[in-house]
Amino acid sequence: MADDKTPQAPPAEEKKTAAEERAATPERPAEKSEASKKPAPPKGWEPTGDIVSSPVTEKLLAEYGGAVSGIPNSCGEATVRVKKEYLIEILSFLKNDPATAMNYLSDLTAVHFPDNEKVFEVVYHLYSMSLGHSLRLRVGLDDGESCPTATGVWKTANWHEREVHDMFGIVFEGHPNLKTILLPEKWDGHPLRKEYPLGGPKEEKIRAGAFERPVYLPDDAEEAAKIIREIKDAE
């Protein structure tokens, strides 16, 4: 959705009013974006295309019909959504069944969709070295919901899951060593969530003339107001 592209956009006229500005966020970017001229966009993220069927997805649907459903994809990649409760069972099945033989976990990551019904999607990319086919699995999670760990199935999931935990704050249940990996210890916030500003949690945008300028304001309110005044005077 176009209006979520600028979650940090509210220009703070002054430090004191920044909180009010932030409260007004949902309307503000929508006014500016071109999407507002058209009819309202559909809520949440919806992939386009057809549901891709492959021998693997058919096999999965036959074995775990209720727990698996296809997701449309416009690039011809087989994609399925899996219920969280069956995730590890399905991953083990895909790895060990000779008809699927997905022995290689290429990638594990997550995506944040703040407007979707399920806010987080954990994405698994599997590949079979012997049969040469691949499959994408997705698991939807609510905010604060944990996901079972895949480290028992593939060792390589270990660091991937630690990274996802850093970046999105998703907890992987049963992970042997779930601590920060890319971020410093005791880092505040989860950078790849959509509400996290690009410049970090302390960034404020000051409008000076025609442009918005990102600045880092000190905690002291008086000093912050002084810096804002200086920027505005300079224009």
Binding site: W45, Y104, T156, E163, L198
Partner: protein, 381 residues
Amino acid sequence: MPNEALTPKVEAPLRKALESKEMELNMGPQHPATHGVFRAILSLDGEKVVGIEPVIGYLHRGIEKWAEFRTYQQAAPIFDRLDYVGAVINSHAYVQAVEKLLQVEIPKKAQYIRVVLDELQRIANHLLWLGTHALDLGAMTVLFYCLREREVIMDLFEAMLGQRLLPNAYPIGGVRFDFPRNWEKVCRDFLERFPRLVDDYEKLLSENRIWKQRTRGIGIVTPEEAIDLGLSGPTLRGSGVNFDVRKAMPYSSYEDFDFEVPLGTRGDVYDRYMCRVREMRQSTRIVSQALDGMPEGELKAKMSKIIKPKAGEAYACVEGTKGQLGFYIVSDGSKQPWRVHVRAPSFVNLQGLETMVMGELVADVVANIGSLDIVLGEVDR
């Protein structure tokens, strides 16, 4: 039989007091053998490694986050900074994922030019790796030879792309330039000389007794472990697993070329070294074939200047210099990507370090890190 008179008699309580304790050794973050800012906390029992905890993230620049705030074209140059000694291939992986999202077929000529530049980049990367890896293990001469040849490739990049290290090589939908005048001749000269130069490096190392002692039987990874750990590239093929993205999922016309995938047998440091050296020879073959069979045609696919893929997701991967380099891009139908995730081979391969060094001597940690060929810019992103 040991002389009993000379063997010191140690009383039982004293022997207990002499029992060694584990020592923690901090290797890095600033250590010449880690090729960047990488810290390994080693637990040592005497000289034996009994535990290792890699600490990464010193070079984390938030590239994935940054890309979400740029249009597809604006985001392209930053991915050169992932693996900064294999920048051309990074660029290829990114544009390939965007092209997959857009469902654009790029012209054959552009595909061939991409293959030429990619393989030259692979040679340049392996040369730098070989020089520094040998330097880590005490063989200094190789570095100077390797850098000498790498310079030729860098000059070729400069002549064609205008930049040596981070050229932002490919736009979305094709390539920017055809080969400049005389470029092909210089390139062919180099390709003709190069196999003999690789022979020279091999003469210095492959049968060298000290080199073999430092690398043979060190850091063994079995094929099953390697797949379980998600290793890729020469690090995986050193263990004898035949998986190369160029063969398994051919992209950019790689199916047109005749080349072999070098495999190791034992999965030790020496085999990984051998795989990379042989890969350089194969890359030379691919570049020659691509130059010979260069088709005529357009350089860029006909497409809209504004890049706005439909809402959806795509995962595209290439055989990077370090392994399988994948880009997972989620589009929401706007001009900016909703999410860009990099499947960085160095990051995943570095996980294998623990399996490699456990139970080995502390001096072999250096050999193992070298054999992984990590670039910390890609590990930390």
